[in-house]
Structures are given as C-alpha cells and as structure tokens.
C-alpha cells in the first residue's frame, strides 16, 4: 500500500458543465493541504474524533486507514465511528454527541444530513472544538474546511463514459444504492443530469434502489428482463455495481455495458475481465488522511482553504494498474 | 305453571360430529336438575348452547319463563340471568384471584380505573360469606386446581343469576369441599331460581338433585324424579346397559418385591418426611383433603418438582431423578391431575398424544412409524372407548372425559413398571370409571406397582390394596383395605397441624 501523503491526487477529468453549486475540485485547491512540513506533531494524548457516514463498508474502512496513518505520523489518537447505514441519521447524531462528550481535540464529521446536525454543531462550537467536514459538505460556517469528493460531478463523469461506450443511444438503467442520503442522490442525479443535457438519444429508466448485492442483482436482472432494449446499467456504489454485473450475467444478455462506482475485489475482477466497462473511484485513504491533517492544522490555529478536494477518477481495464489509480483502489 | 327454562329441539353439529340431536330439556323454578350422560354425550355442548357460547343449528328454541330468547353471547346470557361454571377451568393464570373474580364485570371499575384494594376486599367478603378460605391476592397460577375450582364456584355464585349451570364442579374437589358446595347450592335455590348440575359422581346426583335428565350420544333419553328411582336405573339410561361395580378390589398382592420405595422425602414448601413403598402388583391409594400434599408427593417422585431431600428406589435400585425424563426412563409414569396444563397437547391429534410418552417404541433411527402410531392409537381409543370420529381428531375437540382417557392411554402405551395416577377418573363417566378400575386391576395383575391419588373415598376404597392418608404435607397413617372405612380415613385426613407436630416431636 502506498502512503497517500506522497501519492498524487487522482486525475480529475472534470466536465466543464459542472453546476456552480459543486465546489471546484481541481487538483490545485487540494494541493496545499498535503504539502509542507508545517503540520505540528501532537503529544500522543490528544484524540481526533471522526464521525463518518458508515463503518461497515470497505470505503469507510479505507477512510479510517488514511486517518489512522495520519494519526500515527503526527502522533494523535484517532477515534473513528459511523452509523450502521446511511439512513441512520439519529444514530449518527448520537455518536457526534458522544464524540463531543469525550472532549476531543478536534472533530471530523461527514454529515448524513446537515440540517439535522445544527444543534450538536452549535454545541461543538460552544465547546470551542475545531471541526472539519469530510466526504460531503456540512452546510454551515462551522467547518474549517471540507475534505470531499464531488459526487455529483463524479456521477456525471460516469454518465459521460457510459454514453461514449454505448454509442450515445439506447436505454440505460440505474441501480442506485440509496434513495435518501446526499451521496446516494448526487450519484444518481449527476448521472441523470448529464444524460439529459448531453445525450438526448439515451433513454434513462427510472432509478431503482438497492443497497445490497443480492437485491441489486435481482433489480438489475428484472430491469433487463422488463426492458429488452437495454444497453447499459449503472451501479452507484460497490454493492450496486457488483450486483449490476451479476444481474447482467444472470440475465444472459450479451453486450450490456456496466458502469460502476467505488472498487472492491469483485468489481476490479469484473473490470479486468471485461464484465464491467469501468468505474469511478474516489480516494478514501486520502480523504481520511487529509481530514486528520486538516484537523491538526486547525488545532494549531492555521488558516485552511474552504474546500479540500480528495478527488475522483474514472478507471477501466486500461488504467487500472496505473500507480495513481491503484493507490485508491481497494480489494 | 311456566317452566323457568325450556330448551326445545336443540341440535349442534361440529365438523364430523353430531354433538346434539333434537334435545329437549326443562328446568323448574326452585329445583336442582341433574344432567347425566356418558363422556361425549353432549352435556357440556348443550350448556354452552344455553349460555351463548355455541350457536345451535337451525330450529333450536330457548324459552326463559315462557318467553323465547336468543342468547347472543356470554354477556347477554348473564344479563338474562344465566351463568355457568365450565367443566374446563376458565381462569386467567397471570391475574390474582380477586382480579379474576371481577374480570369483565360491570361495576368492577370506576370510569375505567380499577381499584385493587376494593376488589380484594369485595372478594374477601365474598369468600367469607361462602365460608371459603382463599387469599384474594394469590395469583391463580399458584393455586391448585381444586382451589381454582373454588374460585370459579365463588364467581358463578356471585352473579346473582336466576339459572346457574355447574358442569362437573366437584371433579377436583374432595368430600369436605363437596359438602360445602352443596350447602352453597341449597342457599342458592329459592322459588325464583334453578340450577343444572352435571356430574359423573352418582352419589352427588342422588344427594343434591330433584330430577335428573339423561343424554346419550347427543340425544335426549328422558327425565326422572331422583327420589323415585335407583341410581342403577339412571346409569343404565346413560350407558344403555347395566354397569355393576364392586366396592372393593378383586385382586390380592401376590409379590413381596418392592417396586417403588420413597424415603424421607421433603420439600421446602410443604412435604415433610414422606416414607412409603409400593410392591409389585400393589395399588397404594393416597387419600387426604384438598391441599394435603398428595399431588406434591407425586410430582416430586416423578421429578416434576424439586425436592429438598429424599431418596427414590425403583426395584431396590436408587435412582437419580432430576427431571421427568429421568423418572420415565426409570420406569415411572405420572398422570397429572391437571390434564389441560400438564397432560395433553391440545392442538395435536389423538394418536400423537397417545404415543407421546413412548416415542422410543415408535421410531426407527429417528424416523417415526406413523402406521404403528395409527394402529396403536386406534387400539387404545377403542379399548378405552374414546368417543371420536377418528384418531386424527385434535384433542381440543374432544369432550373432557375423553381427553382424560387419552392421557391414560398415553401411560398405558408407555408400559411403565410404576404408575402414579393423580385423580385418574376426573371427569370420567360411571361406565368408563368402572372400565378404568378394571384396567388398574389388570395392570396390578401384570405386576405393575400403582399409586392412585383420589379425592373420592369410594374410589380409593374401590381400587387400593393399601391406603396412605395425608394431612398437611405428612403421611398420617396407612390402612389396609380390609380395615379401611370412609370414617377412619377421614379421621386420619383431619389430623390437625398441632397434633402432627406433637407426634413428630
């Protein structure tokens, strides 16, 4: 495994028509964060508390790894928690509250829902604990910086590749991993949005939601069976994408293009052997690392940029083994 | 004079069973009417029709004091002045005695609020009035069947009804309580009221009833005035043949070999220093008043309840009984007095219940021998004359007495060396009773050691070679059958606590 601190940010092939709302995630904005030796070392007693959006999926484990790496490097204790799944807002807020109760040196927070968090956030503010947002934005002035992937733009990127691969026509189905969370929505809407504006000849079916492989496979299969003219299926996270591949195989129909998101061994295998055309990856390890580094800087009282992009990238059979891609893939 | 109650042309059909066919019945004001019939004759069903629990088939009529009524449900029946003590206990085990007494009763609450202190006081007053000694605060689940039955009786009497039905109220009671009950019945009867009394105990019928109506196979046979006939005649109306019974056992104990020996048995709660033995082929009767501890002895020996001290020997070998499975393996069978709770599987069929204790003989390598089960089930149903359309009938759909026969069959099929029968003829009709006595005799001839616990003294005298009498958790004496009379048994059964202590000291 490589250290994210030294690995370059994934290339961000950002489409020009990205909505203004999504913060510009160019490599330049993220560059300063990882540079320089101006990150002071801790004394090993202080804790940085990360409240993420989950802990059970490999993605979050990778974020945790990155965070722990930075913690080790700069001598901070890292505590990492997250709710059971991305609908459990209350559970997350309870965890955030408990994080606050433990009086950490800084808090990193990936809000499932910003609106809901307002109360606890103001308590954090009152306790004068510096806070860093990661993964998705926290809609408030409180976070000193946001370390994030632009999911909307990433999904647009997936759509763009899908359109190219299917020759800009035909029916495309979406298996989205979650209907209500910010990430889930952005990864679906970004895809739909791009198709609508750029590929008028592609018919996008109403998205179906499935966060588990089995369900995703059944869903993809049913979609293909009900729509014999389908040419492509998009899965919005590891489970949805893996399921989409399996559903396609089981449907027995040839020539369906599957585009996915995130990584994982089965997905990587599927890309290598051509069952999946390609996928978008984020940089979870880097995200964790940057979050902790930003937190340490905040503890130190340094100024931070508004947004720290952890980036995303399209990968397929051709670039899957490129070092800067491989660093962000996990099995 | 108009009748207090008339039932005309009542029929009731269950799937596969015609329980009642065109039955008529009438009750005069101021009388106790006995209702007799074999197990499954339809007595309980008729009473359930009367009290609105079953809807009869088309054409049935119920007349109350010359007015035709249609009984809609339990509450309506109660409004009409009809109440019933069911054959099966209908108590809510997790509520207290007082709470049960006033459950679902008008005036038991004020605006939805219940006042347990008041319920307890009212219940206490009621028990005092009826001369019963029951703690209103006890949970029903902690009471013996007999005590639960007393609570049922108190509840029925407290309704101020015009017509009261008692479906085998004394099945769980001993002589003393039965006498007390008769006192209450006499108090209940006024020129405005009437009572229908169902029992399989003919002496009671003779003592308490004015007239007796008889059912057989769901049909009305006739009504007689009690004092004008001999009980024999009623019995032959019931069973359609003569039943003659002896008063004493016909067999003698041949062997000296002790099959079951119990030494120094005692429990925390009640029992102290119980010692007895039963020889091969011997029937040892246990007599005593309600709560004397006979059931507790049986349950301890069988491993159903924990004992504090005491050793149990079967055929001279000490056995380690920690649970019922150990006892059964050692060759002890126990027929419980509370069949609904401890005896039967209500939603399983007759054949499954019949072989439940003997499954080791009905499987090969874990595979169940259904053919054999059916054959044996049918064989024993026939032997014990269980009234049923087939052995596939669920136990819940049998009449009470027939359920009891199936439980007996269960232990006969298991073929134990030592059998403990706790109230074996509870709810069983006279004909069948005689059959069961015959069976017990037969079993003792085969060399089985048998303990019979019974609250009916004539029964104890009829079957036992020897009789152990209990009071307050102690055995107060043994009597040989030849020496035993109802009087000297009662004498031993009523030994006071103080005397007991005196003899023990």
């Amino acid at each position: 495994t490589s250290t994210p601190a030294t690995s370059p940010a994934p290339t961000t092939d950002k489409p020009s028509e990205a909505p203004a709302s999504s913060p510009a995630a160019t490599p330049e904005t993220s560059a300063p964060a990882t540079e320089g030796g101006d990150v002071p070392k801790g004394d090993g007693t202080q804790t940085i508390y990360l409240v993420s959006k989950g802990f059970q999926h490999r993605f979050w484990q990778a974020v945790k790894e990155g965070a722990e790496q930075a913690g080790k490097e700069y001598n901070y204790k890292i505590q990492f928690v997250g709710p059971d799944d991305e609908t459990k807002v209350t559970q997350q807020l309870d965890q955030l509250k408990t994080a606050l109760d433990s009086k950490p040196a800084a808090i990193g927070f990936a809000a499932l829902d910003t609106g809901a968090a307002a109360d606890v956030l103001s308590q954090i503010e009152a306790a004068k604990i510096p806070m860093i947002a990661f993964d998705s934005g926290v809609d408030s002035d409180l976070p000193l910086t946001t370390v994030q992937t632009d999911n909307f733009a990433a999904a647009q990127e997936a759509a763009k590749h899908m359109a190219e691969l299917v020759g800009n026509k035909g029916t495309v189905g979406l298996v989205c991993h979650d209907q209500t969370s910010q990430t889930g929505k952005q990864r679906c809407e970004g895809f739909q949005d791009w198709m609508k504006t750029n590929a008028p000849d592609i018919k996008v079916l109403a998205p179906q939601y499935a966060g588990e492989v089995g369900l995703a496979a059944n869903t993809a299969k049913a979609m293909i069976q009900a729509n014999p003219d389908i040419v492509g299926v998009y899965g919005s996270n590891e489970a949805a994408a893996t399921g989409a591949v399996q559903g396609t195989i089981e449907s027995g129909k040839e020539g369906i293009t599957v585009v996915g998101f995130d990584s994982g061994k089965t997905q990587l295998d599927a890309i290598r052997n051509g069952q999946m055309a390609g996928a978008i990856t984020q940089a979870p390890v880097k995200m964790g690392y940057e979050t902790v580094v930003s937190a340490i800087k905040a503890i130190d009282g340094q100024e931070l940029p508004k947004v720290t992009d952890s980036g995303f990238a399209w990968y397929d059979k051709n670039n899957i083994d490129d070092p800067e891609i491989a660093a962000n893939l996990y099995e | 004079m108009t009748k207090l109650l008339e039932l005309r042309n009542v029929s009731k059909t269950f799937p596969g069973v015609k329980a009642l066919q065109e039955v008529n019945l009438d009750l005069n004001a101021g009388e106790v009417l006995g209702l007799c019939g074999e197990n499954g004759a339809g007595k309980s069903t008729l009473m359930k029709v009367l009290t609105g629990i079953y809807t009869p088939d088309e054409g049935a009529e119920i007349w109350l004091q010359g007015q035709q009524v249609e009984v809609r449900d339990v509450n309506h029946a109660r409004e009409l002045g009809l109440s019933i003590i069911h054959q099966e206990l209908n108590m809510v085990p997790d509520l207290t005695v007082a709470q049960n007494l006033y459950l679902g009763r008008k005036g038991s609450h004020r605006g939805g609020l219940v006042n347990d202190a008041k319920l307890n006081k009212d219940a206490g007053d009621l028990f005092d009035r009826l001369g019963m000694n029951i703690n209103p605060r006890s949970y029903i689940r902690d009471l013996s069947v007999a005590r639960q039955q007393m609570v049922e009786i108190a509840r029925a009497l407290s309704y101020d009804s015009r017509i009261l039905v008692m479906d085998e109220p004394t099945a769980a009671l001993t002589l003393a309580e039965t006498d007390a009950l008769f006192g209450m019945i006499r108090d209940f009867i006024t020129p405005q009221t009437g009572l229908i009394y169902i029992s399989h105990r003919m002496p009671e019928i003779e003592e308490i009833t004015d007239r007796v109506s008889v059912l057989r196979d769901g049909r009305y046979i006739g009504t007689v005035v009690t004092k004008d006939v001999e009980m024999r005649e009623i019995i032959s109306m019931m069973v359609g043949r003569e039943v003659s019974g002896d008063a004493r056992p016909r067999t003698k104990v041949e062997s000296d070999e002790v099959a079951l020996r119990v030494e120094n048995l005692s429990t925390k709660k009640l029992l102290g220093d119980i010692n007895f033995e039963v020889r091969k082929g011997e029937v040892l009767g246990f007599a005593g008043l309600m709560g004397a501890g006979r059931t507790e002895v049986a349950r301890c020996v069988f491993g159903a309840d924990p004992r504090q001290s005491g050793d149990i020997y079967v055929h001279g070998r000490k056995i380690n009984v920690r649970g019922a499975a150990d006892a059964v393996r050692a060759g002890i069978g126990y027929l419980s007095e509370d069949r609904k709770q401890y005896g039967i599987l209500l939603d399983q069929d007759i054949k499954a219940n019949t072989v439940m204790a003997a499954m080791r003989d009905f499987n090969i390598g874990g595979f169940v021998l259904d053919g054999k089960i059916r054959t044996v089930g049918a064989e024993f149903s026939e032997k014990l004359r269980v009234k049923t359309p087939s052995v596939n009938q669920l136990l819940g759909k049998l009449s009470g007495g027939n359920q009891q026969k199936v439980v007996i069959a269960k232990w006969l099929v298991r073929n134990c060396d030592v059998l403990i029968f706790d109230e074996p003829t509870r709810g069983i009709d006279v004909g069948a009773k005689e059959e069961i006595y015959g069976l017990i005799e037969q079993l003792s001839k085969q060399g089985k050691a048998i303990v019979v616990i019974s609250s009916e003294l004539p029964e104890v005298l009829r079957v036992s070679h020897r009789i152990a009498v209990m009071a307050h958790g102690h055995i107060t004496g043994f009597l040989n059958n030849e020496d035993a009379t109802q009087e000297n048994i009662m004498e031993l059964a009523t030994v006071g606590k103080a005397q007991l202590k005196g003899t023990a000291a």
Binding site: F55, Q56, T98 | N90, L95, V114
Partner: protein, 319 residues
C-alpha cells in the same frame, strides 16, 4: 404510589444490571462520570423508550408490533407535513393533536386487522411496517424534512427545567402514565388477561376484540409521542430512517422482563431495558471500543443481563 415502588423493587434485578453497567463505565470510560452524560443517555433513549412503553401493552396481550419503527418515521413525516411550513403551517396546538391522532389511527388499523380480520399480529404489523415505510418516502418525496418551527422543537429539546431536556420529562411523565394504564385501568387489566388466557377472558364477558384494538391504538399513540421526541430533537425527519428500530423497541420491553408470551408486563422494566441499551452504546463508544466490537459486547452483555435477571427471579420465588 406504594404499589409503584413495590413493583419497582421487584424489578430491582434488571435495574441492578443497569447500575452495574453504569458503574463499570464510570470507572473505565473517560469523561463518562458526569451528570450530563447520564442525562444524555436518558434523552437519547427517550424515543425508543416511549415507543417501548406502548409496545409493552401489545406484548402483554401476547402480540407484537413490527410497525413501530417505520410507523414512527411516517408519523414524524406527517408532523413535517402539518408543521414544517412547506405544505402546511399549522400551529403546534393544532399540529400536535393531529400527529397524535395519526399515530392512533395507524394503531387502529393494526388493531382492526388483528382483532376483526383475525390476522396474526406479526403479519398485520409487518404489512403496516412496509406500507408506512413506502408512504414515508412517497409523502416526503424521499427528501428529509426540516421542521424549523421553534415551538415544535421546544417540545423535545427545550428545557423547562434548566439543564434537563424536555424529552426526559416527557419520557418520565409517559412512563408514569403507562404504569397507571397498565396497573390501574381496565386497559392494562384486560391486556394482561388477554395475554394470559384469551379464551377465559372472552368467557368472562370481556369484549376482547374491542380491547385488543384499543391496545394497538394505545401503542400507536405512544409511537406518535416517540415520533415527536425523535423529530423534535433535531427538528428533522429522514424518511428512510426507522427500519430496524422496532427490534430495539421490542428488545427494551423483553430485557425489561415482559414475556413475549403475554400475560405479564412490567413498565419499570421497559424503561430500564431502554436505558441499558443506550448506556451500553454510549459507554462503549466513549471507551473507544471499535464499533464492530461494540456489537459483540452489547450482544453478550444483554445475554448476561437477562440471564442474571432470570436467575435472581428464580431464586426470589424459590425462597
């Protein structure tokens, strides 16, 4: 209230487990030994606890309610519809009664399905669970709803007593209400009777269908209170949440000593059951135990707590 105390003391067993767990964390979890942590625990367990109070009645009848989790979310979504201002902007004085009525209505549907149609409670409430989940998503357009109305938020998160969130008071008051309902009214009496022996209860002349329905209505009302506490804490509803909460609710009841077979129920136990679960969650997190280990530890502690409870209960009756 002597009865209340007596019954509480009988429950001292599970309570002992709670105390033991609490003391353990006071010693081993940094920053745990503060009064505000205790208050947090009560506040955070309040919505599950309140729903568990209602579920105690259902379980007393021998029934089960799987719809409390998603049903709570649906009620909260309706609160959003009534009071968030995007659809309606009712004053809380009107909105709250409507929300409670809606909870009662869901309970009524469950009750009718069970007592009139004769459906098994598991099926009837499972169906309601699915329907409620679907409706939450449909009505909210699958977006979270913010109920900014400060009055609404005050109900759960305001502090009539400084330092003590109202949610805690409401939980306490509802616990007393539930205790009285269970022990001092016909509703509780009949619920227990039905759970103990439904047939005997019917033959006693109790209108079993009616009272069973009322029990589910009661549970629905408690679910509505749960929804108010849940959504009022953050002024926020996430329409996909609530799945799986029903198991937490039932677990609180069962840990508290109420038997799923019906006939016996214990309100104090239910409260303690809810607190045990939340204390474990908070304490293990503050100890810094990895989250996957928290699951394992919670499972084992629940086993032990209930086992000890059973043991001591046995010993108590044996004496």
């Amino acid at each position: 209230m002597g009865g209340f105390l007596r019954s509480s003391l009988q429950q001292v067993f599970v309570f002992a487990a709670l105390i033991a767990i609490y003391i353990f964390f006071m010693i081993f979890a940094p920053n745990f030994a503060q009064p505000n942590i205790a208050l947090d625990i009560i506040q955070q367990s309040a919505y599950i606890g309140v729903m568990a109070l209602g579920a105690t009645f259902v379980i007393a009848t021998g029934g089960i309610d799987l719809s409390s989790g998603t049903g709570m979310t649906l009620v909260a979504v309706m609160a959003g519809i009534f009071m968030a201002g995007d659809w309606l902007n009712l004053p809380t004085g009107l909105g709250i009664p409507l929300v409670i009525a809606f909870g009662a209505f869901m309970g009524l549907l469950n009750g009718l399905n069970i007592s009139v149609l004769g459906l098994p409670p598991f099926i009837a409430t499972l169906a309601m669970m699915m329907v409620a989940r679907g409706l939450s998503l449909i009505i909210s357009g699958a977006s979270s709803i913010t109920i900014a109305n400060p009055q609404y938020k005050f109900i759960a998160s305001g502090q009539i007593i400084p330092g003590v969130a109202n949610a805690i008071l409401i939980f306490a008051v509802l616990a007393v209400v539930a205790w009285v309902l269970l022990n001092k009214t016909l509703l509780g009496r009949y619920a227990l009777a039905i759970g103990s022996n439904e047939e005997a209860t019917r033959l006693s002349g109790v209108n079993v269908k009616l009272w069973k329905t009322l029990v589910y209505v009661t549970a629905g009302i408690f679910v509505a209170f749960g929804a108010i506490l849940y959504s009022g804490r953050f002024g926020f509803v996430q329409p996909a949440e609530g799945v799986g909460f029903e198991l937490n609710v039932i677990a609180a009841v069962v840990i508290g000593g109420t038997s799923l077979a019906g006939g016996r129920a214990n309100i104090v136990g239910t409260v303690v059951g809810a607190l045990i679960m939340e204390t474990l969650k908070k304490g293990l997190q503050m100890m810094g135990i990895a989250q996957e280990w928290q699951l394992v530890v919670t499972g084992i502690v629940v086993l032990i707590a209930v086992f000890v409870d059973i043991l001591r209960r046995k010993r108590a009756t044996a004496v």
